[in-house]
Symmetry: C2
Subunit: 363 residues, 2 copies
């Protein structure tokens, strides 16, 4: 028997690379840029940028914040790093220090700041609004730009609201808007509309550059069909204790689970402090391997900060130190997201920030 205490996060870089190539091929001849914001969705921007730059020849990266760009720019010295949240007083020095960083400008106020603080040799991206009603110049703001203003930019981009639903009316609506605004205001510069989900819609959405994020990390961004992507994330944690749960007893904080029959429980060393959603309380699934057999169990009671309690009644040969699988190719973060009432993106971003995992990169 092995006594173990720490949860484990495994990131499969081979699968990530294969996903990148699959997406790149679909979008060809559009440039395949990699979205590595939020520390590469929590999976480690430094490892993933090194891989994509060194092995896949990816030369275009997107981050949200300049501080994120500063971390990866030195690892990909000929790459361009686009900063989606743009430029302002609080990150101007970072832009000055890292010439590879290109701000994405999303409103007239930020553009005015840019014009007062232009960085020689850099041409920003303009973000235009086409239906998501999030960041981006609105049409009346585009109409107010002078020709000189328009010549400031090197790329025009927008973002889809419903690209993960193939037949959603918003896709055609946003594509029409993008077509119209791009041709009217920026006829001569390259364009980017699609993130991962847009790649699967049709070639019309690809334009000159696609921004590969979620799907590259294994998330199914086209959930109207089976996932075409390979799984990247495996989460496992050891059983700390196995115990009988007698009929009538309660489990966990606030006693939200009561045993109606005698049960057997396993206490597993992972909790919301490790990024497991607390909304998996009383509904989450856990898997145990026994040779090639896979046994499914349920989380019972509340997920606590460091532990979960699993109903393992009827699963034989389990012992302390065995690993419980929380996410793997047979139960992906998409599945977990469904059970937790959220999306895999949010869970991935949380799990990856956990410093208590034994973290392993598989090549």
């Amino acid at each position: 028997m092995t006594i173990l205490t720490q949860p484990c996060l495994e990131i499969n870089l081979s699968n990530l690379l294969e996903n990148f190539f699959t997406l790149q091929k679909i979008a060809k001849p559009a440039i395949a840029a990699a979205v590595v914001k939020d520390d590469a969705y929590g999976l480690g921007a430094e490892q993933i940028v090194s891989l994509l730059y060194g092995v896949a020849g990816c030369h275009h990266f997107f981050v949200a914040h300049a501080v994120e760009g500063a971390k990866i720019a030195p690892l990909a010295d000929k790459a361009v790093v686009y900063v989606l949240q743009g430029i302002g007083q609080d990150n101007l020095e970072i832009f000055k220090q890292f010439p590879q960083l290109i701000p994405v400008i999303s409103c007239p106020e930020m553009f005015a700041f840019w014009k007062q603080n232009r960085l020689v040799g850099r041409k920003p991206v303009i973000h235009i609004e086409t239906g998501l009603n999030r960041l981006g110049f609105r049409e009346k703001e585009l109409a107010a730009l002078s020709n000189a203003d328009k010549n400031e930019f090197s790329l025009v981009m927008s973002h889809l609201a419903c690209g993960d639903e193939k037949d959603h009316f918003m896709n055609a609506y946003q594509l029409d808007n993008f077509n119209k605004l791009k041709n009217l205001y920026f006829p001569k510069i390259p364009a980017s509309l699609a993130a991962s989900d847009g790649v699967f819609l049709s070639h019309d959405f690809h334009w000159n550059m696609v921004r590969l994020g979620a799907a590259m990390y294994g998330i199914n961004t086209a959930p109207y069909r089976e996932n075409q992507m390979k799984n990247v994330v495996t989460v496992a944690a050891p059983i700390l204790q196995i115990a009988d749960l007698p009929k009538g007893q309660f489990v966990g904080y606030s006693a939200t689970y009561r045993a109606n029959t005698n049960r057997k429980i396993a206490i597993v060393s992972i909790g919301y402090g490790d990024g497991l959603p607390r909304s998996l309380s009383n509904v989450g699934k856990v898997f145990f391997k026994n040779g090639s057999d896979l046994h499914e169990a349920r989380i019972i009671g509340r997920v606590s900060m460091d532990n979960i309690i699993c109903d393992v009644t009827g699963i034989d040969n389990l012992q302390v130190g065995d690993m419980a699988y929380l996410a793997a190719d047979f139960y992906t973060l998409d599945d977990m997201g469904r059970d937790a009432g959220t999306i895999s993106y949010e869970i991935m971003s949380r799990l990856g920030k956990n410093t208590r995992f034994i973290r392993k990169y598989v090549k």
Copy 2:
């Protein structure tokens, strides 16, 4: 006008210290230990341990994992650091390296491991089960211990399931169990039963040591009455853009919000990638300061990874670069937890792990 891009997390160490002293006073003469697991609930174990050790004279700390203990032990060199997840093959070397770490043993298998790998000069804690049905020796396992076994331990502990509900039957039930088991099996060693919530129940729950966590960080662990604790966490993020939202248009991913009248929106630079729960989509609150006035607004549409969209219709004088407050003394993480369908503990743990914040410790 100031253009800003980064969200901000402010941690008020004076209030944290005051909370510690308040709790310590209630629990006197019990020893006040500080629970700093999960990087001090995400708020920064190193800063908080240094403060509690240096200023408050706290000499007893609890972490979940040995790796967490290794980070703080050097900052509090005369302190004892209890490791709740215990000891095993995967952290034995850390225990050897840091003599201050004391494992909490919660089952016979781990105890057997301990006996094979005893560390000279250290006496572990025994965790006993009294009703939570999580970690801890069950009674039949206690009954199987020899006298020599029982003499291995320096402290006996258990944990309450429903300490945040003053009149919950589980409190008396667990206290009775603890009394009985403690006196029967460990009559001569000190005992610890209460975490923050137990401190507020009654003196009977205090025993020799209380474990101060959530309440010290400002969370209301006695929600049956007004919070006695000072707020520790403030979260703010700048407005990146202000725009009109015409009647009939949709907002955010999956177009989950539609404007039934003309609205004004603000796009704020914080999202679930920063630890804001995605379950605040279409329900979360945001506040804007205008001198001493406080204006309340709603998050509309889905929370995305880097941004939220807020309905700021009717709030005058707002401009790009103004700060939106997501959590503060007027809307605490407890309030946010209620709106997000979870508890403040989970949100605090997530927010604190965000590396994109401008993080500020106020003394």
